[in-house]
């Protein structure tokens, strides 16, 4: 099946029209901006700007500043040249940008190796989670009423179980199995879908799909495997993408598991590598913050990618398990989809 052809038979025509649409949008926006600038110049207001809106924007900008300023400072401080004495007053931008800091951290610590390990663990973990969590979610959505309610309650109970409770016994279990200090330990949670929340997300995603689809597939002789693979998963593409991205950043940021279960330094992931770097260069903040930036950027990219469909497919509340799936989603005769998050 071709990727979303949107009614175009011809990929070339589709691309051409996409460019044409983008060009039209660009021209319209530019024209509107020019008209606005012109109206300001000749002193005629096109729209009355209400002072409440202005106040709202001021407040929101202040808050944005509070939330973003630390990361801006991290970025600029990571580029401060190494030899300089620490700044005496608040420094918005360094005098000169030392991009060599980023080369330096890769020289003094095996960051390349650790990034490789992190990418390996995160990718394998995300792929496995996609399979196990979606399978479990699909099976939960297909089971009859009463066992399903028990399964959902069980999953929510698992969600509530604190992660600190399982550090010790997992250590004992893994050392009994001889798995300590392997990559397997790090991706072991993928066996149960990494977090029960991801299973629940898939469950809600599949419950939203019309039941008739699965019933007719079943009447045509398709088993659960077939309808899971060929009908359910393609339907729940936004959920699947969200889960993959969330899982990727979960394994990328995971610190406790590698700390507890890994022994040899060549298997360390980036999170533990950051701790090692901290112990090596305690006072050298430029280097440390450069490593922080290296660790944070992939997660930020993943987050910005998620923005794209959090907007389109109101998944955001479902991320927090608190909203019933039947409440605000399109049912028969209700085709308007409310837009929660922007």
């Amino acid at each position: 099946m071709p990727m979303r052809s949107k009614g175009y038979a011809n990929a070339h025509l589709q691309r051409k029209h996409a460019w044409r649409r983008a060009w039209i949008v660009f021209c319209t926006k530019t024209f509107a901006l020019a008209r606005w600038v012109w109206s300001v110049i000749i002193g005629r207001q096109m729209q009355r700007v209400r002072w409440q809106t202005v106040l709202w924007h001021c407040t929101a900008l202040t808050i944005t500043f509070v939330f973003v300023a630390p990361f801006f400072w991290v970025l600029t401080s990571s580029l401060r040249p190494l030899g300089l004495p620490p700044p005496r007053a608040l420094e918005w931008a360094p005098q000169e940008l030392a991009w060599t800091n980023y080369a330096e951290i890769f020289r003094i610590a095996p960051l390349g190796r650790q990034i490789g390990n992190s990418i390996l663990v995160s990718t394998v973990g995300a792929a496995l989670t996609l399979i196990t969590a979606s399978a479990a979610g699909f099976a939960m959505a297909q089971t009859p009423e009463r066992p399903r309610r028990w399964l959902v309650m069980l999953t929510i109970g698992l969600l509530m179980t604190p992660s600190t409770a399982v550090w010790l016994p997992r250590y004992v279990l893994f050392s009994k199995l001889g798995l300590i200090d392997t990559y397997t330990v790090l991706v072991a949670p993928a066996l149960m879908g990494t977090k029960p929340l991801y299973v629940l997300m898939f469950y809600w995603g599949f419950r939203r799909a019309p039941r008739e689809l699965f019933e007719s597939a079943r009447l045509d002789g398709a088993g659960p495997f077939l309808s899971w693979r060929r009908i359910a998963l393609p339907l729940a593409r936004p959920t699947a993408l969200a889960v993959v991205l969330l899982t990727f950043s979960h394994y990328w940021s995971d610190f406790v598991d590698p700390l507890l279960f890994l022994k040899s330094a060549e298997r360390y992931t980036l999170a533990v590598g950051l701790r090692m770097l901290q112990q090596m260069a305690v006072t050298n903040w430029s280097l440390l913050l450069a490593a922080v930036v290296v660790m944070t950027v992939p997660v930020l990219l993943v987050y910005l990618a998620m923005q794209q469909f959090i907007r389109s497919d109101s998944e955001a509340p479902a991320l927090f398990m608190l909203r019933s799936p039947t409440q605000n989603f399109p049912q028969k005769g209700n085709s308007v989809r409310p837009n929660y998050v922007a």
Partner: protein, 309 residues
């Protein structure tokens, strides 16, 4: 003929039943990895922790049963009481702070003004930073000599503080730092706020209610179930998420001022190999969290919502 087509006899029809059994079997196969994994990695470990709390175990010799001796020992140690007190203070300050922050942000950012999406993205930003990186960033921000926070205070004209170095402010610093991670609660409350019917607000405004009254008598009661669930979640999370910041930033802090229970459990188990003690502490911690949640549930009279899950 009648026997094979009538639905009444369907359960007794052999081929029909075989198909059903097979279908259920395959569903079970799809569910199996999750159930096996959850049993192995969550349910059995949680039960095993409860058992270990009553044994002496040092990770080398086999655990031996010792009854309540672990509990007696840890109750006699001052460190446990210090950690318990610190944890209670931490949870008691951090959870309401996060709830309040999420509520204020949601009330501000639920308006469909132009550019609201960018503001939301910015407010969510601290919540996506990896824990380790976040701890290091704040370790730098709180640095009394080079850190930007003290420079900002000096710029405004306030006296500088010693933050993590001083015994009095170390715990407060950790609370402050966790107070910026409110993105998820904010998204939830925005969704909840946008779900409220506009008619209520219009009618109240027609009757001459001012903004505070609208908030106090309409928004707050209608958001209450969500606020309550969010509070529970914040308590659960902040009780156990303090490990990474403490481990990375203070290692228990000046004179045990930031020794919280998860960190103490880690030290007991993985530095001193007194696994029985660690398990006993963990058991007490979870009994405490469970009691707190139950108390809240009882005080507020139910979950406040009865939707099908």
């Amino acid at each position: 003929m009648l026997r094979s087509t009538s639905l009444f006899f369907a359960p007794f029809n052999r081929s029909w039943r075989r198909i059903c059994t097979r279908y259920r079997l395959e569903l079970g196969l799809l569910l199996a990895p999750f159930l096996v994994g959850a049993t192995l990695l969550i349910i059995l470990p949680a039960l095993y922790t409860a058992v270990l709390a009553f044994t002496q175990y040092d990770a080398l010799a086999a655990p031996t049963w010792s009854g309540l001796a672990n509990f007696r020992t840890i109750f006699q140690r001052d460190l446990f009481w210090i950690a318990l007190r610190n944890s209670l203070i931490y949870v008691g300050l951090a959870a309401p702070l996060q709830l309040l922050g999420a509520l204020l942000l949601a009330l501000l950012l639920h308006h469909p003004h132009r550019g609201v999406r960018q503001y939301r993205v910015a407010a969510y930003l601290p919540s996506v930073i990896p824990e380790v990186a976040y701890a290091l960033i704040w370790l730098w921000i709180f640095n009394p000599l080079y850190g930007p926070l003290n420079k900002v205070l000096a710029w405004v004209g306030l006296p500088a503080l010693n933050w993590l170095v001083s015994e009095d402010t170390a715990l407060i610093s950790l609370v402050l730092m966790s107070g910026l991670r409110v993105g998820e609660g904010m998204l939830l409350l925005i969704a909840a706020r946008q779900g409220l019917p506009t008619a209520y607000f219009q009618v109240a405004a027609l009757d001459g209610g001012n903004r505070w009254q609208l908030f106090r008598y309409i928004t707050l009661p209608l958001l209450a179930p969500w606020l309550f669930l969010l509070l529970l979640r914040d308590i659960l999370l902040s009780a156990q998420s303090s490990f990474v910041p403490v481990y990375m930033m203070t290692s228990g802090g000046p004179n045990y001022a930031t020794t919280l229970l998860p960190y103490l459990v880690y030290e007991e188990a993985f530095s001193h190999f007194r696994i029985g003690h660690a398990a006993a502490m963990m058991l007490i911690m979870f009994a405490g969290i469970g009691a707190l949640l139950w108390l809240l549930y009882w005080l507020l009279g139910g979950w406040g919502y009865a939707d099908e899950i």
